[in-house]
């Protein structure tokens, strides 16, 4: 890609920002802060040391909720997917719990864990657990039987088979599941922080509004959330480029 092509989105964003600023300055009455106002808001946050503190707080909760869910849901999902009888037994309960929005658990989270990090982590855990469980179950079921048969044919016991066939065969699908789920976790942390805690980017947004209608801080918070979400997704996407995983994403 040449430089002009690379610059294209940046130029486009710059144009949008200019239009935004002009529109805001011409519009009578307050509907939204302009880009300069938002930049001022971000500078304010940095000066008070809140930007880093809130970003770290949000990432901390997402990391714990996401990692805990992955560590529990993936092995469990692989096991359930492998033993079809277990799947028949557990599928109804999974299907009932799965469509419940993690936000519906907020009262129960607060009842169990009080207002604080633990509640937020619990909500993110729930948001990640069921999608990952289903991803892992489906990934096992979708392994072409030729791979399993080949593994058995070469005399592999269950543990070697899991390590040499099952695991590599499901990794590409798991990575897609993890990527999508991390996106969901990042959505949920904002909502959880609006209610269950007193720090983080979600808290920043409600707090900025409640404590003096600081909409510059609200929009600043939104932009920071968007940027970090993009970075998280890019990071997960880069896993898909690893050579021994890449077969799972192309059709050849």
């Amino acid at each position: 890609m040449n430089l002009a092509v690379r610059l294209r989105p940046i130029v486009f964003i710059a144009i949008l920002l200019v239009i935004w600023q002009i529109a805001i300055s011409r519009h009578p009455g307050y509907i939204l802060p302009g880009p300069l106002g938002v930049v001022g808001g971000i500078v304010d946050l940095i000066r008070h040391g809140l930007l880093l503190k809130y970003v770290v707080a949000s990432l901390f909760r997402v990391t714990w909720g996401f990692v805990l869910a992955a560590v529990l849901a993936i092995p469990l999902g692989l096991t359930i997917g492998w033993y079809s009888r277990l799947e028949m037994a557990l599928n109804p309960i999974i299907q009932i719990l799965r469509p419940i929005s993690p936000l519906a658990w907020i009262p129960i989270a607060i009842l169990w864990f009080g207002v604080g990090d633990l509640s937020a982590v619990f909500l993110i855990f729930l948001a990640c657990f069921f999608p990952l469980l289903l991803t892992a179950m489906n990934a096992v079921r979708n392994i072409p039987s030729v791979y399993i048969n080949a593994g058995r044919n070469f005399g592999m016991g269950l543990s070697t088979l899991v390590y040499s066939v099952l695991y590599p065969a499901v990794v590409p699908q798991l990575i897609i599941g993890l990527r999508i789920t991390l996106g969901v976790a990042w959505l949920v942390v904002v909502a959880a922080e609006m209610i269950a805690v007193d720090s983080g980017l979600g808290f920043l947004i409600v707090d900025a509004r409640n404590a003096g209608n600081r909409y510059d801080l609200v929009v600043a918070g939104m932009l920071i959330i968007g940027t970090i979400g993009l970075l998280l997704d890019t990071g997960m996407r880069s896993l898909e480029k690893i050579k021994s995983f890449r077969w799972g994403y192309s059709e050849d």
Binding site: V146, N149, A150, R152, N153, S164, V171
Partner: protein, 262 residues
């Protein structure tokens, strides 16, 4: 080709595999389908046997029963006198080229079945079979970087690398283009003549069967039973326009009920 190899088929060689009254009935949604009907077959050690028959007749089912992946509803299969109860690394099943593991390199695939060997032994084996199937220079390549024919050779190499007594091939060249298919037949014969495994090869291609096999087992339409066993008494390399070749081929075509005119 040496005359020794051309004579081959020591008549006295031991029976490797014996299918005894093998029957198979699938039950699905309350309906039962009989797929195999009383199959009796003996395969000698080092023999190359092709199973042919109309598509959907149950050739693959029979091969899967022989390989231990399916249990027959009645009868049994014995190999070296032992009843087959499951898959075994002494008998390797070769699928179409989709059987190679896409997450492993060429080396990784060939070494896949060698997990019990020491590292040095494994590497030496891998090298030997990379050379045998002509994949030198592609050791580090992933299957997605290989052509269909190369993938098929890779799968054959993976099977040979564990030094099995028997190979089961289920329409292994079915997905290849016709030129690659011809080349692969030649390769398979070359490797078979070098290592003399017992080979059971399923195909729906009569020409392929007559070019490769010592004996061609013609199966009937479902439920499959053995219609005829044809001895292919032509030495390798076979002249595929010789009168004897054509006679044998046309005989099988007639057996299956196909006119050889289009």
């Amino acid at each position: 080709m040496s005359t020794e190899a051309a004579i081959k088929l020591p008549v006295a060689s031991a029976i490797k595999l014996r299918a005894e009254h093998v029957g198979m009935v699938f039950a699905r949604d309350g309906k039962t389908t009989e797929v195999l009907n009383d199959i009796d077959l003996e395969v000698r050690e080092g023999e190359f046997v092709c199973l042919v028959g109309p598509s959907g007749c149950g050739k693959s089912t029979l091969l899967n029963v022989m390989g231990g992946f399916l249990s027959p509803t009645s009868g049994q299969v014995r190999i070296d006198g032992q009843v087959v109860r499951g898959p075994d690394p002494r008998r390797i099943f070769v699928f179409q080229e989709r059987g190679v593991f896409p997450w492993l390199t060429v080396e990784g695939n060939i070494g896949f079945g060698l997990f019990k060997l020491s590292r040095a032994e494994r590497e030496q084996r891998i090298k030997h079979y990379v050379n045998m199937v002509g994949l030198q220079g592609f050791e580090e390549a992933y299957p997605s970087e290989l052509s269909g024919g190369m993938k098929q050779r890779l799968e054959v190499a993976r099977a040979f690398a564990v030094n099995p007594d028997m190979l089961y091939l289920d329409e292994p060249f079915g997905a290849l283009d016709s030129i690659t298919r011809l080349v692969m037949r030649g390769e398979l014969l070359r490797i078979w003549e070098a290592e003399r495994k017992t080979v059971i090869f399923v195909t729906h291609d009569i020409d392929e069967a007559v070019q490769l096999a010592d004996r061609v087992v013609v199966l009937s339409a479902r439920p499959a039973s053995i219609q005829e066993i044809v001895n292919i008494d032509i030495a390798h390399p076979r002249d595929i326009s010789s009168p004897r070749y054509l006679e044998l081929r046309d005989g099988i075509l007639r057996q299956i009920g196909l006119a050889h005119k289009i």
